[in-house]
């Protein structure tokens, strides 16, 4: 049992996109604020701060997670993946990110980090999704710019591209 006092900061250790990192957090510190303010990972955006808009979605121990509905204290020792971990290198975009760019699947970009995390997580487990499944997944996100259609097109194209690149690798 560990009890953290409300008025003190406590050390929190996590793996962030594969790198071990640590920071201090009060018991009430949200994971979203911990990522942005303590760890400097500002790719994760904070929208509604009550779990509705999906902008702050990250992956914790393989689970899609609203970081605004999660305390930093809850994820001590966990593996966290954020949008910063999606690109293969600093000057390159991943397959999904490239598809978003081609299809104009973002305009202001505020919701994009969360949507990318949901799609990246989903496509890794469901390599051949239907449009209905993508729409169902996106029901957990709000985007006020795009009307969603280009996001769905980008997701389906990225899924097809990922599936064919996997096939080529396994055939080789």
């Amino acid at each position: 049992m560990s009890r953290f006092k409300s008025d003190a900061r406590h050390p929190i250790h996590v793996s962030l996109n594969g790198e071990p990192v640590a920071g201090e957090a009060e018991p009430r510190t949200l994971l979203s604020d911990f990522l942005r303010h303590r760890l400097g990972a500002t790719g994760t955006h904070v929208g509604c701060e009550h779990g509705v808009c999906g902008a702050c979605t990250v992956v914790v121990d393989g689970m899609l997670t609203r970081s605004c509905l999660t305390l930093a204290a809850q994820v001590d020792g966990c593996e966290i993946r954020t949008v910063e971990g999606l690109a293969p290198a600093a000057d390159r975009l991943g397959v999904l990110q490239q598809a978003f760019r081609r299809h104009h699947a973002l305009q202001c970009g505020f919701c994009t980090a969360g949507i990318l995390m949901s799609l990246d997580h989903y496509l890794a487990r469901n390599p051949a999704p239907t449009e209905a499944e993508i729409r169902d997944l996106l029901s957990g996100h709000l985007c006020r710019c795009t009307g969603y259609t280009p996001i769905i097109q980008a997701a389906l194209e990225a899924a097809a591209q990922l599936a064919s690149s996997k096939k080529e690798t396994s055939d080789a």
């Binding site: 049992m1 560990s2 009890r3 953290f4 006092k5 409300s6 008025d7 009060e26 018991p27 009430r28 949200l30 604020d33 701060e49 009550h50 779990g51 999906g54 979605t57 689970m63 899609l64 997670t65 609203r66 605004c68 509905l69 999660t70 305390l71 204290a73 809850q74 001590d76 949901s118 989903y122 169902d136 997944l137 029901s139 957990g140 996100h141």
Partner: protein, 271 residues
């Protein structure tokens, strides 16, 4: 907004949770998946002095198949239950209702028992518990008790749980040879239901449970109904639920949905 200040206790045994609840009583809240409680904290609708995190207690993370019931522990996430291979066979009604609970991004963390503790009148899991006639397993440092679904929900977001009690799990009966149907109407998939209905074929007739209309999910049993008796029974039930107008729908629309969905579902299970 940000949550108010509280102490955080990461429990490793049920005993630690019960001690914490016994000491702090109404000032303590149990934190499981956090998909309802954290929103309440962020909006400062809840201001506990102590949060007790129960998600690192292995014994609460179990789904147990007994002869005539399934016991679901307090730490079982909605996604865990959806992925349970026996779900469709043992709990077909839950298999129908659970995909409508929130979104994939909230089911991944939210727990079954957390949804029951929150007791939102339009939530699907409280409706399923009432429709199936399940039980809530409550435990404090002093005693253990089982509360029937119909006695558990005491009002809008109110339950029979005492301040020092942990919802340790729920027990849902496995009902063989019956038929189940579920349908809800919401603005978008995953939103809270305007009206949600669950129907079950019972040995003597049919049961319809309705969420989103009264302050608590409400079930009604009828003997086998024929012809216009179905419409009369549903109309009376729709009025008895005491629907109110709100920003989402009028009372009249809710009564319409109870009559229409109710008739369809009763038809499906008695077919």
């Amino acid at each position: 907004m940000k949550p108010p200040a509280f102490d955080y206790l990461r429990a490793e045994t049920v005993g630690e949770v019960l001690d914490g609840l016994a000491q702090q009583g109404g000032d303590a809240r149990v934190l499981a998946g956090g998909q309802s409680l954290m929103a309440m904290l962020n909006m400062r609708l809840a201001k506990p002095k102590l949060l007790i995190d129960i998600m690192r207690i292995p014994e609460l993370r179990k789904i147990e198949r007994k002869t005539d019931a399934v016991v679901i522990g307090a730490g079982v996430r909605q996604a865990d239950l959806l992925a349970w291979p026996d779900l469709a066979e043992a709990l077909p009604l839950v298999a129908l209702a659970l995909p409508c609970v929130g979104h994939m991004q909230t089911r991944s963390r939210g727990t079954i028992c957390g949804s029951l503790a929150h007791a939102d009148p339009s939530a699907e899991m409280p409706l399923a518990l009432v429709a199936l006639g399940g039980e809530v397993l409550l435990r404090s440092a002093r005693r253990r008790r089982r509360v029937a679904a119909k006695d558990f929900f005491a009002g809008m977001m109110l339950t029979a749980r005492s301040d020092d009690e942990l919802i340790e799990g729920i027990s849902l009966p496995v009902i063989n040879g019956s038929r189940f149907a579920f349908r809800e109407v919401a603005r978008r998939h995953g939103d809270f239901a305007i009206v949600a209905c669950a129907a079950t074929k019972t040995p003597s007739g049919v049961r319809l449970a309705v969420g989103g209309v009264a302050d608590v999910p409400t079930a009604r049993d009828w003997p086998r109904l024929e012809g216009s008796a179905v419409d009369d029974a549903l109309n009376a039930f729709a009025y008895e639920l005491g629907a109110r107008d709100d920003v989402h729908a009028t009372a009249r629309y809710r009564r319409d949905l109870v009559r229409m969905i109710g008739r369809d579902l009763i038809g499906e299970v008695l077919r």
